[in-house]
Protein backbone atom coordinates (compact mmCIF):
# COMPACT_ATOMS: atom_id res chain seq x y z
CA UNK A 1 0.00 0.00 0.00
CA UNK A 2 1.24 3.48 -0.91
CA UNK A 3 1.15 5.57 2.24
CA UNK A 4 2.18 9.22 2.04
CA UNK A 5 1.74 10.21 5.66
CA UNK A 6 3.04 7.75 8.21
CA UNK A 7 3.57 8.44 11.88
CA UNK A 8 4.88 5.98 14.42
CA UNK A 9 4.46 6.64 18.12
CA UNK A 10 4.64 10.36 17.52
CA UNK A 11 4.72 12.08 20.89
CA UNK A 12 5.02 15.69 22.00
CA UNK A 13 5.34 16.80 25.58
CA UNK A 14 5.32 20.46 26.51
CA UNK A 15 7.28 21.11 29.66
CA UNK A 16 7.11 24.14 31.84
CA UNK A 17 8.46 24.75 35.34
CA UNK A 18 5.16 23.78 36.91
CA UNK A 19 3.95 20.88 34.82
CA UNK A 20 4.26 18.60 31.83
CA UNK A 21 1.51 18.33 29.27
CA UNK A 22 1.41 15.38 26.90
CA UNK A 23 -0.09 17.08 23.88
CA UNK A 24 0.35 14.14 21.51
CA UNK A 25 0.63 10.69 23.00
CA UNK A 26 2.20 7.99 20.79
CA UNK A 27 0.08 8.56 17.72
CA UNK A 28 0.59 6.01 14.95
CA UNK A 29 -1.28 6.71 11.75
CA UNK A 30 -1.01 5.80 8.08
CA UNK A 31 -2.69 7.85 5.38
CA UNK A 32 -2.88 6.54 1.83
CA UNK A 33 -1.98 8.47 -1.29
CA UNK A 34 -5.07 10.17 -2.67
CA UNK A 35 -6.97 9.85 0.58
CA UNK A 36 -9.10 12.55 2.16
CA UNK A 37 -8.48 12.12 5.86
CA UNK A 38 -10.22 13.99 8.67
CA UNK A 39 -8.79 14.57 12.11
CA UNK A 40 -11.39 15.48 14.69
CA UNK A 41 -11.19 16.41 18.30
CA UNK A 42 -12.15 19.04 20.82
CA UNK A 43 -10.01 22.10 21.48
CA UNK A 44 -6.71 21.12 23.06
CA UNK A 45 -7.00 17.51 21.89
CA UNK A 46 -3.62 17.64 20.15
CA UNK A 47 -4.72 18.01 16.52
CA UNK A 48 -2.71 21.14 15.80
CA UNK A 49 0.37 19.87 17.65
CA UNK A 50 0.22 16.66 15.63
CA UNK A 51 -0.04 18.51 12.30
CA UNK A 52 2.72 20.95 13.30
CA UNK A 53 5.05 18.00 13.84
CA UNK A 54 4.17 16.67 10.40
CA UNK A 55 5.06 19.98 8.76
CA UNK A 56 8.35 20.13 10.75
CA UNK A 57 7.38 23.12 12.89
CA UNK A 58 7.72 21.07 16.04
CA UNK A 59 10.25 18.36 16.80
CA UNK A 60 8.67 15.32 18.47
CA UNK A 61 9.97 14.06 21.80
CA UNK A 62 9.42 10.48 20.73
CA UNK A 63 8.53 8.67 17.55
CA UNK A 64 9.02 9.54 13.91
CA UNK A 65 6.94 10.42 10.88
CA UNK A 66 7.49 10.26 7.14
CA UNK A 67 5.91 12.42 4.49
CA UNK A 68 6.04 10.84 1.05
CA UNK A 69 8.88 8.72 2.38
CA UNK A 70 10.90 11.63 3.80
CA UNK A 71 11.65 11.74 7.50
CA UNK A 72 10.38 14.80 9.35
CA UNK A 73 13.47 14.60 11.56
CA UNK A 74 16.18 13.96 9.02
CA UNK A 75 14.80 15.52 5.81
CA UNK A 76 12.64 18.45 6.90
CA UNK A 77 13.30 20.51 3.76
CA UNK A 78 12.15 17.67 1.47
CA UNK A 79 9.07 17.26 3.65
CA UNK A 80 8.19 20.95 3.40
CA UNK A 81 8.56 20.94 -0.38
CA UNK A 82 5.85 18.31 -0.58
CA UNK A 83 3.39 19.74 1.91
CA UNK A 84 1.02 22.66 1.74
CA UNK A 85 0.06 23.78 5.22
CA UNK A 86 -2.77 25.99 6.25
CA UNK A 87 -2.74 27.29 9.76
CA UNK A 88 -5.92 27.12 11.79
CA UNK A 89 -7.73 29.59 14.02
CA UNK A 90 -4.77 31.93 14.32
CA UNK A 91 -4.20 31.75 10.58
CA UNK A 92 -5.01 35.37 9.91
CA UNK A 93 -1.92 36.20 11.89
CA UNK A 94 0.26 34.18 9.60
CA UNK A 95 -0.08 36.79 6.87
CA UNK A 96 1.60 40.15 6.48
CA UNK A 97 -1.11 42.64 7.29
CA UNK A 98 0.79 45.54 5.75
CA UNK A 99 1.07 43.76 2.40
CA UNK A 100 -1.76 43.26 -0.07
CA UNK A 101 -3.28 39.82 -0.49
CA UNK A 102 -1.55 39.51 -3.85
CA UNK A 103 1.87 40.48 -2.46
CA UNK A 104 1.45 38.02 0.40
CA UNK A 105 0.80 35.19 -2.04
CA UNK A 106 3.59 36.24 -4.36
CA UNK A 107 6.07 36.53 -1.49
CA UNK A 108 5.36 33.05 -0.17
CA UNK A 109 5.32 31.64 -3.70
CA UNK A 110 8.82 33.01 -4.28
CA UNK A 111 10.11 31.61 -0.99
CA UNK A 112 8.65 28.26 -2.03
CA UNK A 113 10.60 28.27 -5.27
CA UNK A 114 7.66 29.01 -7.55
CA UNK A 115 8.62 31.12 -10.57
CA UNK A 116 6.81 34.45 -10.86
CA UNK A 117 4.80 33.63 -14.00
CA UNK A 118 3.66 30.27 -12.63
CA UNK A 119 2.67 31.85 -9.32
CA UNK A 120 0.75 34.54 -11.17
CA UNK A 121 -1.28 31.97 -13.13
CA UNK A 122 -2.10 29.97 -10.02
CA UNK A 123 -3.04 33.06 -8.02
CA UNK A 124 -5.31 34.36 -10.77
CA UNK A 125 -7.18 31.08 -11.12
CA UNK A 126 -7.62 30.69 -7.38
CA UNK A 127 -8.72 34.24 -6.60
CA UNK A 128 -11.27 34.04 -9.39
CA UNK A 129 -12.64 30.79 -8.00
CA UNK A 130 -12.73 32.00 -4.40
CA UNK A 131 -14.15 35.42 -5.25
CA UNK A 132 -11.15 37.43 -4.10
CA UNK A 133 -10.47 39.20 -7.41
CA UNK A 134 -11.92 42.53 -6.32
CA UNK A 135 -9.97 42.74 -3.06
CA UNK A 136 -6.71 41.02 -3.88
CA UNK A 137 -4.72 44.27 -4.10
CA UNK A 138 -6.04 45.65 -0.79
CA UNK A 139 -3.90 45.43 2.33
CA UNK A 140 -4.63 42.27 4.33
CA UNK A 141 -5.33 44.43 7.39
CA UNK A 142 -8.57 45.42 5.66
CA UNK A 143 -9.68 41.83 5.01
CA UNK A 144 -12.48 39.99 6.79
CA UNK A 145 -11.72 36.68 8.54
CA UNK A 146 -13.22 34.77 5.64
CA UNK A 147 -11.06 36.58 3.10
CA UNK A 148 -7.95 35.81 5.12
CA UNK A 149 -8.92 32.14 5.32
CA UNK A 150 -9.22 32.06 1.52
CA UNK A 151 -5.83 33.68 1.19
CA UNK A 152 -4.32 31.10 3.51
CA UNK A 153 -5.80 28.32 1.45
CA UNK A 154 -4.35 29.72 -1.76
CA UNK A 155 -1.01 30.04 -0.02
CA UNK A 156 -1.10 26.39 1.00
CA UNK A 157 -1.72 25.44 -2.64
CA UNK A 158 0.58 27.90 -4.35
CA UNK A 159 3.54 25.53 -4.78
CA UNK A 160 1.24 22.74 -5.97
CA UNK A 161 2.13 20.27 -3.24
CA UNK A 162 1.01 16.64 -3.38
CA UNK A 163 -0.04 16.69 0.25
CA UNK A 164 -2.21 19.26 1.95
CA UNK A 165 -2.44 19.61 5.70
CA UNK A 166 -5.26 21.99 6.46
CA UNK A 167 -6.35 23.19 9.86
CA UNK A 168 -10.04 24.17 9.79
CA UNK A 169 -10.03 25.31 6.14
CA UNK A 170 -13.65 26.48 6.09
CA UNK A 171 -13.77 28.18 9.47
CA UNK A 172 -15.01 31.74 9.11
CA UNK A 173 -16.20 31.32 5.52
CA UNK A 174 -19.71 32.22 4.41
CA UNK A 175 -21.97 29.34 3.36
CA UNK A 176 -21.34 29.68 -0.37
CA UNK A 177 -17.58 30.05 -0.04
CA UNK A 178 -17.42 27.09 2.35
CA UNK A 179 -19.33 24.98 -0.17
CA UNK A 180 -17.00 26.03 -2.99
CA UNK A 181 -13.92 25.29 -0.91
CA UNK A 182 -15.26 21.85 0.00
CA UNK A 183 -15.97 21.14 -3.65
CA UNK A 184 -12.48 22.22 -4.64
CA UNK A 185 -10.83 20.12 -1.93
CA UNK A 186 -12.77 17.02 -2.90
CA UNK A 187 -11.89 17.56 -6.56
CA UNK A 188 -8.24 18.08 -5.68
CA UNK A 189 -8.28 14.62 -4.15
CA UNK A 190 -10.38 12.92 -6.82
CA UNK A 191 -8.92 14.47 -9.94
CA UNK A 192 -5.59 16.06 -9.06
CA UNK A 193 -4.69 13.04 -6.85
CA UNK A 194 -3.73 15.15 -3.87
CA UNK A 195 -3.77 13.74 -0.35
CA UNK A 196 -5.53 15.85 2.24
CA UNK A 197 -5.27 15.66 5.99
CA UNK A 198 -7.58 18.16 7.52
CA UNK A 199 -8.76 18.99 10.98
CA UNK A 200 -12.24 20.17 11.65
CA UNK A 201 -14.88 20.74 14.26
CA UNK A 202 -17.58 20.46 11.65
CA UNK A 203 -18.85 16.89 11.72
CA UNK A 204 -21.07 17.29 8.68
CA UNK A 205 -18.09 18.48 6.72
CA UNK A 206 -16.04 15.47 7.75
CA UNK A 207 -18.88 13.12 6.89
CA UNK A 208 -19.33 14.79 3.54
CA UNK A 209 -15.66 14.91 2.52
CA UNK A 210 -13.56 12.30 4.25
CA UNK A 211 -12.74 8.80 3.13
CA UNK A 212 -11.42 8.02 6.59
CA UNK A 213 -11.15 9.83 9.85
CA UNK A 214 -9.60 9.69 13.28
CA UNK A 215 -10.94 11.11 16.49
CA UNK A 216 -8.25 12.41 18.80
CA UNK A 217 -8.70 13.30 22.43
CA UNK A 218 -6.11 14.16 25.07
CA UNK A 219 -3.39 13.41 22.58
CA UNK A 220 -4.57 9.88 21.75
CA UNK A 221 -6.48 8.42 18.85
CA UNK A 222 -9.75 7.09 20.21
CA UNK A 223 -11.30 6.16 16.89
CA UNK A 224 -9.93 5.37 13.45
CA UNK A 225 -12.17 4.39 10.54
CA UNK A 226 -14.71 5.76 8.12
CA UNK A 227 -17.38 8.26 9.16
CA UNK A 228 -19.92 5.47 8.58
CA UNK A 229 -18.04 3.15 10.93
CA UNK A 230 -18.04 5.85 13.56
CA UNK A 231 -21.76 6.18 13.23
CA UNK A 232 -22.21 2.41 13.50
CA UNK A 233 -19.95 2.27 16.51
CA UNK A 234 -22.27 4.53 18.38
CA UNK A 235 -25.49 3.18 16.90
CA UNK A 236 -26.67 2.20 20.34
CA UNK A 237 -26.87 5.87 21.28
CA UNK A 238 -30.54 6.68 21.67
CA UNK A 239 -31.41 10.22 20.77
CA UNK A 240 -34.77 11.90 21.04
CA UNK A 241 -35.56 15.23 19.46
CA UNK A 242 -38.22 17.41 21.04
CA UNK A 243 -39.72 20.27 19.00
CA UNK A 244 -41.85 22.87 20.73
CA UNK A 245 -43.64 25.96 19.53
CA UNK A 246 -42.65 28.16 22.45
CA UNK A 247 -40.47 31.19 22.93
CA UNK A 248 -37.11 31.06 24.64
CA UNK A 249 -38.47 32.32 27.99
CA UNK A 250 -39.55 28.80 28.94
CA UNK A 251 -36.38 27.05 27.82
CA UNK A 252 -34.73 26.91 31.24
CA UNK A 253 -37.84 25.39 32.86
CA UNK A 254 -38.07 22.75 30.16
CA UNK A 255 -34.40 21.84 30.51
CA UNK A 256 -34.77 21.51 34.30
CA UNK A 257 -37.77 19.22 33.92
CA UNK A 258 -36.00 17.05 31.35
CA UNK A 259 -32.88 16.74 33.50
CA UNK A 260 -34.98 15.42 36.39
CA UNK A 261 -36.32 12.54 34.33
CA UNK A 262 -34.52 9.22 35.03
CA UNK A 263 -34.93 8.20 31.37
CA UNK A 264 -32.92 11.21 30.17
CA UNK A 265 -29.15 10.63 30.26
CA UNK A 266 -28.13 14.07 29.11
CA UNK A 267 -28.98 17.11 27.03
CA UNK A 268 -27.13 16.96 23.72
CA UNK A 269 -28.12 20.27 22.19
CA UNK A 270 -30.67 23.01 22.25
CA UNK A 271 -31.61 25.36 19.44
CA UNK A 272 -33.81 28.36 19.95
CA UNK A 273 -35.39 30.48 17.27
CA UNK A 274 -37.99 33.20 17.69
CA UNK A 275 -40.98 30.86 18.15
CA UNK A 276 -39.41 27.43 18.20
CA UNK A 277 -37.31 25.34 20.54
CA UNK A 278 -35.53 22.15 19.45
CA UNK A 279 -33.89 20.03 22.15
CA UNK A 280 -31.96 16.79 21.58
CA UNK A 281 -31.57 14.46 24.54
CA UNK A 282 -29.83 11.17 25.17
CA UNK A 283 -32.26 8.58 26.59
CA UNK A 284 -32.06 5.12 28.13
CA UNK A 285 -34.68 3.60 25.81
CA UNK A 286 -37.24 4.92 23.39
CA UNK A 287 -40.28 3.04 24.61
CA UNK A 288 -40.43 4.56 28.05
CA UNK A 289 -38.68 7.83 27.28
CA UNK A 290 -40.92 9.18 24.54
CA UNK A 291 -44.23 8.86 26.50
CA UNK A 292 -42.57 10.11 29.68
CA UNK A 293 -41.12 13.20 27.99
CA UNK A 294 -44.44 13.93 26.29
CA UNK A 295 -46.28 13.63 29.59
CA UNK A 296 -43.78 15.79 31.52
CA UNK A 297 -43.95 18.57 28.95
CA UNK A 298 -47.72 18.40 28.37
CA UNK A 299 -48.28 21.97 29.59
CA UNK A 300 -46.13 23.23 26.68
CA UNK A 301 -47.03 23.39 23.03
CA UNK A 302 -45.26 20.26 21.75
CA UNK A 303 -44.90 19.94 17.99
CA UNK A 304 -43.15 16.56 17.98
CA UNK A 305 -41.13 14.12 20.12
CA UNK A 306 -39.32 11.59 17.96
CA UNK A 307 -36.39 9.20 17.89
CA UNK A 308 -33.43 10.28 15.81
CA UNK A 309 -30.11 8.89 14.62
CA UNK A 310 -27.18 10.44 16.48
CA UNK A 311 -25.29 13.04 14.48
CA UNK A 312 -21.59 12.52 13.94
CA UNK A 313 -20.95 15.30 16.42
CA UNK A 314 -22.94 13.54 19.09
CA UNK A 315 -21.11 10.30 18.35
CA UNK A 316 -17.82 12.08 18.58
CA UNK A 317 -18.73 13.65 21.90
CA UNK A 318 -19.63 10.28 23.28
CA UNK A 319 -16.32 8.78 22.12
CA UNK A 320 -14.33 11.66 23.47
CA UNK A 321 -16.08 11.32 26.81
CA UNK A 322 -16.75 15.04 26.71
CA UNK A 323 -19.84 16.44 28.33
CA UNK A 324 -22.47 17.09 25.69
CA UNK A 325 -22.64 20.72 24.66
CA UNK A 326 -25.82 22.47 25.69
Amino acid sequence: MDYVIVSEDLTKIFKSKKKEVVAVDHISLKIKRGEFFGLLGPNGAGKTTYTKMLVTLLIPDEGEAWIDGFSILKEPVEVRKRVGWMMGETGGRALYWRLSGYDNLMFFARLQNVPKDVAKRRINAMIKFLGLEKDIHKLVMNYSTGMRVKLMLIRALIHNPDILILDEPTLGLDVESARNVRMLLRELVDRAKKTILFTSHNMQEVEMLCDRMAVINRGKIIFLGTPRELREKVANMKVVEIRLVEDKGVLEDIIKKLEQLPVVNGILSKEVSERNIVIRVLVTDYFTAIPEITSTLREYNIESVQRMLPTLEEAFLKLAGTEPRV
Binding site: T49, Y96, D103, V114, L188
Partner: protein, 297 residues
Protein backbone atom coordinates in the same frame (compact mmCIF):
# COMPACT_ATOMS: atom_id res chain seq x y z
CA UNK B 1 -24.32 29.39 -11.08
CA UNK B 2 -23.43 25.78 -10.31
CA UNK B 3 -22.14 25.39 -13.88
CA UNK B 4 -19.94 28.47 -13.39
CA UNK B 5 -18.48 27.06 -10.20
CA UNK B 6 -17.85 23.71 -11.85
CA UNK B 7 -16.02 25.31 -14.79
CA UNK B 8 -13.96 27.43 -12.40
CA UNK B 9 -13.01 24.30 -10.44
CA UNK B 10 -11.90 22.78 -13.74
CA UNK B 11 -9.78 25.83 -14.44
CA UNK B 12 -8.11 25.60 -11.04
CA UNK B 13 -7.57 21.86 -11.37
CA UNK B 14 -6.05 22.22 -14.82
CA UNK B 15 -3.50 24.62 -13.40
CA UNK B 16 -2.65 22.31 -10.54
CA UNK B 17 -2.41 19.25 -12.71
CA UNK B 18 0.55 20.71 -14.57
CA UNK B 19 3.80 20.04 -12.73
CA UNK B 20 5.84 23.12 -13.59
CA UNK B 21 9.59 22.97 -13.67
CA UNK B 22 10.98 25.08 -10.88
CA UNK B 23 13.99 27.24 -11.62
CA UNK B 24 14.25 29.91 -8.97
CA UNK B 25 17.67 30.44 -7.42
CA UNK B 26 18.63 31.03 -3.81
CA UNK B 27 19.49 34.63 -4.55
CA UNK B 28 16.13 35.23 -6.30
CA UNK B 29 14.36 34.00 -3.20
CA UNK B 30 16.54 36.17 -0.95
CA UNK B 31 15.86 39.20 -3.17
CA UNK B 32 12.11 38.47 -3.00
CA UNK B 33 12.40 38.51 0.79
CA UNK B 34 14.20 41.89 0.59
CA UNK B 35 11.72 43.32 -1.93
CA UNK B 36 8.58 42.49 0.04
CA UNK B 37 10.18 43.70 3.24
CA UNK B 38 10.82 47.06 1.58
CA UNK B 39 7.18 47.10 0.45
CA UNK B 40 6.15 46.68 4.09
CA UNK B 41 8.58 49.41 5.18
CA UNK B 42 7.09 51.93 2.78
CA UNK B 43 3.72 51.40 4.46
CA UNK B 44 5.27 52.95 7.58
CA UNK B 45 5.82 56.47 6.26
CA UNK B 46 6.16 58.07 9.69
CA UNK B 47 9.10 55.79 10.56
CA UNK B 48 10.87 56.88 7.36
CA UNK B 49 10.31 60.56 8.20
CA UNK B 50 11.71 60.03 11.72
CA UNK B 51 14.81 58.35 10.29
CA UNK B 52 15.47 61.34 8.04
CA UNK B 53 15.12 63.78 10.96
CA UNK B 54 17.38 61.51 13.03
CA UNK B 55 20.15 61.61 10.41
CA UNK B 56 20.12 65.37 10.16
CA UNK B 57 20.07 66.02 13.91
CA UNK B 58 22.81 63.47 14.68
CA UNK B 59 25.20 65.08 12.21
CA UNK B 60 24.33 68.59 13.37
CA UNK B 61 25.19 67.68 16.99
CA UNK B 62 28.73 66.65 16.02
CA UNK B 63 29.05 69.65 13.76
CA UNK B 64 28.67 71.89 16.81
CA UNK B 65 30.75 69.60 19.06
CA UNK B 66 33.58 69.80 16.50
CA UNK B 67 34.07 73.49 17.37
CA UNK B 68 35.05 72.44 20.91
CA UNK B 69 37.66 69.87 19.92
CA UNK B 70 41.17 71.14 19.35
CA UNK B 71 42.69 70.17 16.03
CA UNK B 72 46.05 69.48 17.71
CA UNK B 73 44.55 66.81 19.98
CA UNK B 74 43.37 64.72 17.04
CA UNK B 75 46.60 65.27 15.11
CA UNK B 76 48.67 64.15 18.08
CA UNK B 77 46.79 60.84 17.98
CA UNK B 78 47.73 60.34 14.35
CA UNK B 79 44.54 61.46 12.56
CA UNK B 80 43.67 64.32 10.25
CA UNK B 81 42.72 67.29 12.43
CA UNK B 82 39.08 67.26 11.28
CA UNK B 83 36.84 66.14 14.11
CA UNK B 84 33.63 66.55 12.11
CA UNK B 85 34.91 64.08 9.48
CA UNK B 86 36.17 61.78 12.27
CA UNK B 87 32.79 61.83 14.05
CA UNK B 88 30.62 61.66 10.92
CA UNK B 89 32.49 58.59 9.63
CA UNK B 90 32.34 57.04 13.10
CA UNK B 91 28.65 57.55 13.71
CA UNK B 92 27.65 56.77 10.14
CA UNK B 93 29.42 53.40 10.23
CA UNK B 94 28.35 52.52 13.75
CA UNK B 95 24.73 53.48 13.14
CA UNK B 96 24.86 51.66 9.85
CA UNK B 97 25.97 48.40 11.40
CA UNK B 98 24.02 48.86 14.58
CA UNK B 99 20.69 49.57 12.92
CA UNK B 100 21.20 46.67 10.51
CA UNK B 101 21.94 44.21 13.30
CA UNK B 102 19.12 45.38 15.53
CA UNK B 103 16.73 45.52 12.58
CA UNK B 104 17.21 41.81 11.96
CA UNK B 105 16.67 40.91 15.62
CA UNK B 106 13.63 43.20 15.86
CA UNK B 107 12.25 41.76 12.67
CA UNK B 108 12.50 38.26 14.06
CA UNK B 109 10.81 39.25 17.29
CA UNK B 110 8.03 40.82 15.21
CA UNK B 111 7.62 37.65 13.14
CA UNK B 112 7.35 35.57 16.32
CA UNK B 113 4.80 37.82 17.98
CA UNK B 114 2.74 38.17 14.79
CA UNK B 115 2.78 34.45 14.10
CA UNK B 116 4.34 34.76 10.66
CA UNK B 117 7.58 32.97 11.57
CA UNK B 118 5.87 29.58 11.45
CA UNK B 119 4.62 30.28 7.94
CA UNK B 120 8.09 31.35 6.90
CA UNK B 121 9.68 28.22 8.33
CA UNK B 122 7.22 26.03 6.45
CA UNK B 123 7.53 28.01 3.23
CA UNK B 124 11.25 28.68 2.91
CA UNK B 125 12.79 25.81 0.96
CA UNK B 126 16.24 26.92 2.13
CA UNK B 127 15.48 26.26 5.78
CA UNK B 128 14.97 29.99 6.39
CA UNK B 129 18.37 30.91 4.97
CA UNK B 130 17.06 32.78 1.92
CA UNK B 131 14.64 34.70 4.12
CA UNK B 132 17.44 35.55 6.55
CA UNK B 133 19.79 36.69 3.81
CA UNK B 134 16.96 38.80 2.36
CA UNK B 135 16.40 40.37 5.77
CA UNK B 136 20.12 41.05 6.20
CA UNK B 137 20.12 42.74 2.78
CA UNK B 138 17.03 44.69 3.80
CA UNK B 139 18.64 45.82 7.06
CA UNK B 140 21.75 47.01 5.29
CA UNK B 141 19.97 48.49 2.28
CA UNK B 142 17.65 50.64 4.37
CA UNK B 143 20.48 51.59 6.71
CA UNK B 144 22.54 52.56 3.66
CA UNK B 145 20.13 55.39 3.22
CA UNK B 146 21.00 56.60 6.73
CA UNK B 147 24.68 56.05 6.09
CA UNK B 148 24.85 57.93 2.79
CA UNK B 149 22.60 60.67 4.18
CA UNK B 150 24.88 61.23 7.19
CA UNK B 151 28.00 61.44 4.99
CA UNK B 152 26.38 63.84 2.51
CA UNK B 153 25.12 66.12 5.29
CA UNK B 154 28.58 65.97 6.92
CA UNK B 155 30.26 66.93 3.64
CA UNK B 156 27.81 69.79 3.17
CA UNK B 157 28.75 71.03 6.65
CA UNK B 158 32.41 70.95 5.67
CA UNK B 159 33.68 67.57 6.92
CA UNK B 160 36.98 66.72 5.24
CA UNK B 161 35.92 63.43 3.69
CA UNK B 162 37.77 62.29 0.59
CA UNK B 163 36.14 62.67 -2.81
CA UNK B 164 38.77 60.52 -4.51
CA UNK B 165 37.05 57.79 -6.52
CA UNK B 166 39.70 55.16 -5.76
CA UNK B 167 39.44 55.88 -2.05
CA UNK B 168 35.69 55.43 -2.31
CA UNK B 169 36.06 52.08 -4.11
CA UNK B 170 38.34 50.97 -1.31
CA UNK B 171 35.91 52.31 1.30
CA UNK B 172 33.07 50.33 -0.29
CA UNK B 173 35.22 47.19 -0.19
CA UNK B 174 35.98 47.78 3.49
CA UNK B 175 32.32 48.48 4.12
CA UNK B 176 31.23 45.24 2.44
CA UNK B 177 33.74 43.26 4.44
CA UNK B 178 32.57 44.90 7.67
CA UNK B 179 28.93 44.25 6.72
CA UNK B 180 29.56 40.56 6.06
CA UNK B 181 31.37 40.11 9.38
CA UNK B 182 28.67 41.96 11.32
CA UNK B 183 25.82 40.17 9.60
CA UNK B 184 27.11 37.05 11.39
CA UNK B 185 26.71 38.88 14.71
CA UNK B 186 23.21 39.99 13.65
CA UNK B 187 22.20 36.42 12.84
CA UNK B 188 23.52 35.19 16.20
CA UNK B 189 21.58 37.95 18.02
CA UNK B 190 18.41 37.04 16.10
CA UNK B 191 18.88 33.34 16.89
CA UNK B 192 19.32 34.09 20.59
CA UNK B 193 16.08 36.02 20.53
CA UNK B 194 14.15 32.96 19.32
CA UNK B 195 15.09 31.09 22.47
CA UNK B 196 15.43 33.76 25.13
CA UNK B 197 12.77 36.21 23.90
CA UNK B 198 14.98 38.95 25.22
CA UNK B 199 16.19 41.60 22.87
CA UNK B 200 16.84 44.90 24.54
CA UNK B 201 19.58 43.72 26.96
CA UNK B 202 21.44 41.97 24.18
CA UNK B 203 21.19 44.97 21.86
CA UNK B 204 22.22 47.30 24.68
CA UNK B 205 25.49 45.43 25.16
CA UNK B 206 26.13 45.38 21.44
CA UNK B 207 25.51 49.09 21.20
CA UNK B 208 27.81 49.81 24.17
CA UNK B 209 30.51 47.69 22.59
CA UNK B 210 30.29 49.66 19.36
CA UNK B 211 29.74 53.19 20.62
CA UNK B 212 31.93 53.14 23.71
CA UNK B 213 34.69 50.72 22.83
CA UNK B 214 34.68 50.89 19.03
CA UNK B 215 36.12 54.39 18.82
CA UNK B 216 33.10 56.07 17.28
CA UNK B 217 33.60 59.50 18.83
CA UNK B 218 37.19 59.26 20.05
CA UNK B 219 40.27 57.32 18.91
CA UNK B 220 40.68 54.08 20.84
CA UNK B 221 44.29 55.04 21.59
CA UNK B 222 42.72 57.22 24.32
CA UNK B 223 41.84 53.96 26.09
CA UNK B 224 45.47 52.83 26.07
CA UNK B 225 45.96 53.67 29.74
CA UNK B 226 43.01 51.48 30.75
CA UNK B 227 44.46 48.25 29.42
CA UNK B 228 41.41 45.94 29.76
CA UNK B 229 39.16 48.34 27.87
CA UNK B 230 41.82 48.90 25.24
CA UNK B 231 42.24 45.18 24.58
CA UNK B 232 38.48 44.58 24.55
CA UNK B 233 38.26 47.36 22.03
CA UNK B 234 40.95 45.73 19.89
CA UNK B 235 39.10 42.44 19.99
CA UNK B 236 35.98 43.93 18.36
CA UNK B 237 35.70 43.59 14.57
CA UNK B 238 33.94 46.93 14.48
CA UNK B 239 37.05 48.76 15.78
CA UNK B 240 39.07 47.48 12.84
CA UNK B 241 36.37 48.09 10.25
CA UNK B 242 35.99 51.66 11.43
CA UNK B 243 39.74 52.26 11.53
CA UNK B 244 40.08 51.03 7.93
CA UNK B 245 37.10 53.09 6.85
CA UNK B 246 38.39 56.29 8.45
CA UNK B 247 41.95 55.89 7.25
CA UNK B 248 40.59 55.35 3.74
CA UNK B 249 38.24 58.31 3.61
CA UNK B 250 40.19 60.78 5.76
CA UNK B 251 43.83 59.97 4.93
CA UNK B 252 43.37 58.03 1.66
CA UNK B 253 45.69 55.27 2.86
CA UNK B 254 45.83 52.15 0.63
CA UNK B 255 44.87 48.77 2.12
CA UNK B 256 48.45 47.53 1.99
CA UNK B 257 49.77 50.47 4.00
CA UNK B 258 51.46 49.31 7.26
CA UNK B 259 48.82 51.21 9.28
CA UNK B 260 46.07 49.26 7.47
CA UNK B 261 47.31 45.69 7.18
CA UNK B 262 46.87 44.76 10.85
CA UNK B 263 43.25 45.93 10.81
CA UNK B 264 42.58 44.21 7.51
CA UNK B 265 43.93 40.87 8.74
CA UNK B 266 41.96 41.20 11.95
CA UNK B 267 38.73 41.92 10.11
CA UNK B 268 39.22 39.00 7.72
CA UNK B 269 39.89 36.75 10.71
CA UNK B 270 36.31 37.43 11.81
CA UNK B 271 34.78 36.15 8.55
CA UNK B 272 34.03 32.67 9.98
CA UNK B 273 31.52 34.51 12.20
CA UNK B 274 29.09 34.36 9.27
CA UNK B 275 29.22 30.58 9.13
CA UNK B 276 29.06 30.41 12.90
CA UNK B 277 26.10 32.81 12.90
CA UNK B 278 24.01 30.55 10.67
CA UNK B 279 25.05 27.50 12.70
CA UNK B 280 24.01 29.17 15.96
CA UNK B 281 20.77 30.37 14.39
CA UNK B 282 19.91 26.84 13.24
CA UNK B 283 20.66 25.50 16.69
CA UNK B 284 18.30 28.01 18.28
CA UNK B 285 15.68 27.29 15.64
CA UNK B 286 15.89 23.62 16.51
CA UNK B 287 15.55 24.38 20.22
CA UNK B 288 12.49 26.50 19.44
CA UNK B 289 10.96 23.65 17.45
CA UNK B 290 11.66 21.29 20.31
CA UNK B 291 10.11 23.61 22.88
CA UNK B 292 7.28 24.81 20.68
CA UNK B 293 8.18 28.49 20.97
CA UNK B 294 8.28 29.51 17.31
CA UNK B 295 5.17 31.56 17.84
CA UNK B 296 4.17 33.59 20.85
CA UNK B 297 0.54 34.44 20.11
Amino acid sequence: MVLNVVSEVDEVLNIFQVKEKKHESFITRAVASLYYQLRILFEYRMAIAIDIIDITISVLIYYFVSFLISKQALSSLGYSPDYLAFAVLGISLSRYLWSSISRLAHKLSHEISEGTLESLVVADVDNLKSWLVGQIMYGFSWSSFWFVGAIIIGMILGAGISTNLLAWFQAIFVLLLTIVVHSGIGVIAAGMYIKHKELETMLFFLSVAMEFLGGVLYPISLLYNIAPLYYISLSLPFTHGLELFRRTLMDELPLLHPKMIFHMVFLIAFLPLVYLGFKVFNKYLEIAKKEGILAAY
